[in-house]
């Protein structure tokens, strides 16, 4: 199967490396970053492009913008892994639409377009007989979308709750384990590359809320938006609060929860028993689904990382190959 890769950040490079390294039957025929693009219908030499990117900061020809690759390259599926813009969803949304309009399948790790334009993009994909998949947008390597769609097919999902932001989980772990203040733990998370220079998005629960919106729309198709999520971050927590929880055999975690029956969509720090399955170490994500037949299902795994995210994207690509491309 031929794929075009748009976005050459950590996730894009991870995907390219895994396609080059593993014999997956995937050929990259188009590639682009924010400044350049490259098209080769016979297949791009990935190692060479990665080396060029490292050396020059560009993956191809500066006269070829990403949209040209999307509109002109010969591919079956577009891999859209540009940075998330939670407010506008651009330029990713435009890229995704352009590919779907060409009846190309789309796989994305980009939360902006899915959280903002879920219904529109799903409808556009259906109209064009193309797949639109976004496993990597929520909980990184955890195959939550595949589980919901296939493993738990026929189940009614009653509620879900989980730890969807690894940065907050790391900070809370360090505050609990070492008695660090919030500011100290945040600084440590930054040094380790777990937190952005501007951590607002993570620590105020916006990232977790966006993931909750994606899950809610996927499961219940209820059109929930970011502003419908009741949101409290972790930035006002004290080391003392963690210790007071600890005294009772508990700790504090940033929990995202959704229960449509109670019209509940909330991200907030919560007191939780230390033995609870959602209490995970480091940056690990965890998610519990409550269903009518299977009852509770909890999944734990890595929520971020270059190769971890590539795992989710490649899972989507191979699903498309098996279910759409081979049958055509």
């Amino acid at each position: 199967m031929k794929v075009a890769l748009i976005g050459m950040g950590s996730v894009g490079r991870g995907v390219a490396e895994m396609i080059a390294k593993k014999d997956l039957g995937l050929t990259i025929t188009g590639i682009a970053d924010s400044k350049s693009g490259l098209i080769s219908d016979r297949g791009i030499n990935i190692a060479k492009v990665l080396a060029t990117k490292k050396k020059t900061g560009m993956c191809g020809d500066s006269t070829i913008p990403a949209i040209d690759v999307i509109k002109n390259a010969d591919y079956d599926a577009l891999i859209e892994v540009t940075p998330t813009n939670a407010l506008s969803g651009e330029p990713a949304t435009g890229y995704i639409k352009a590919a779907l309009n060409r009846k190309k399948h789309v796989v994305t790790s980009n939360k902006g377009p899915v959280a903002l334009h879920y219904k529109e993009l799903k409808a556009l994909a259906q109209k064009n007989g193309a797949a639109f998949r976004y496993e990597a947008t929520v909980a990184g390597a955890i195959p939550i979308m595949h589980t919901l769609e296939h493993g738990l097919a026929g189940n009614e999902i009653l509620a879900l709750y989980g730890v969807l932001n690894g940065t907050c989980n790391y900070i809370l772990n360090r505050m609990a384990d070492e008695g660090l203040t919030y500011a100290q733990a945040l600084m440590e998370a930054r040094e380790l590359g777990y937190a952005e220079a501007d951590p607002t998005y993570d620590v105020q629960g916006i990232d977790a809320a966006i993931k909750l919106v994606i899950l809610a729309n996927t499961i219940w198709g209820n059109g929930v938006k970011l502003e419908d999520v009741d949101r409290t971050g972790i930035d006002l927590l004290t080391a003392d609060a963690l210790r007071l929880a600890e005294d009772e055999g508990c700790t504090i975690r940033l929990i995202a929860e959704a229960c449509p029956r109670r019209n509940l969509f909330r991200v907030s720090p919560r007191i939780i028993e230390k033995s609870h399955p959602l209490v995970t170490q480091g940056t690990l994500n965890a998610l519990t689904l409550e269903t009518d037949m299977a009852k509770e299902i909890t999944m734990i795994g890595r929520g971020a990382g270059s190769v971890e995210t590539a795992s989710a994207i490649i899972g989507d690509l191979l699903f498309i190959r098996d279910c759409y491309v081979q049958r055509a």
Binding site: A245, S268, I272
Partner: protein, 167 residues
């Protein structure tokens, strides 16, 4: 006076009514009835916990009447509040009148603050406290927490609630 009783009776039709009738006979008022059926219990014995309000001096009479009905009283307790939840409050707790915050719960009549742990760092820094609330029933607990949420919002305190069952 408020009394909580743990009763044991035959698990057969009419038994619960038989146990409850003497309460009204002595002028009592039932506040809560809680069945406690062990999941793997295959005996025909039913355990029921009852919280009631009794006019003073009627307890002895009630005990006699219950025994006559074949109800075994396992325990009579003063402890009337059955549901317990712990929350953490962070903020300027003293400057925002902590005793008023506690009083808002205590004055409900159905819930009260039974434990409070607090840490106060330097003056002007936010303090943290762990507050345990007891309430008569699940509904009362929800109402008490709703009051505390409102108070916390008004006083600009961060309230951290426990993760409960949500489905």
């Amino acid at each position: 006076m408020q009394v909580s009783m743990k009763l044991e009776m035959k698990d057969s039709p009419g038994q619960l009514v038989a146990a409850i009738k003497p309460i009204s006979d002595v002028g009592g008022n039932i506040i809560a009835v809680i069945h406690q059926r062990e999941p793997d219990q295959d005996t025909d014995i039913l355990d029921v916990q009852i919280v009631l309000e009794l006019p003073e001096g009627r307890l002895e009479k009630l005990i006699v009447l219950l025994k006559e009905q074949g109800v075994h009283i396992q325990r009579i307790g003063e402890e009337r509040l059955l549901y317990k939840r712990t929350v953490i409050l962070i903020g300027h707790l003293m400057h925002t009148d902590l005793s008023d915050t506690v009083d808002q719960i205590d004055s409900t009549g159905y819930a009260e603050v039974c434990e409070l742990s607090m840490s106060m760092p330097a003056v002007n820094e936010r303090s943290s406290s762990r507050i345990t609330i007891k309430a008569l029933s699940k509904t009362d607990m929800e109402s008490a927490l709703a009051i505390l949420r409102k108070v916390a919002k008004k006083k600009d305190l961060l309230m951290i609630e426990p993760l409960g069952e949500i489905a």
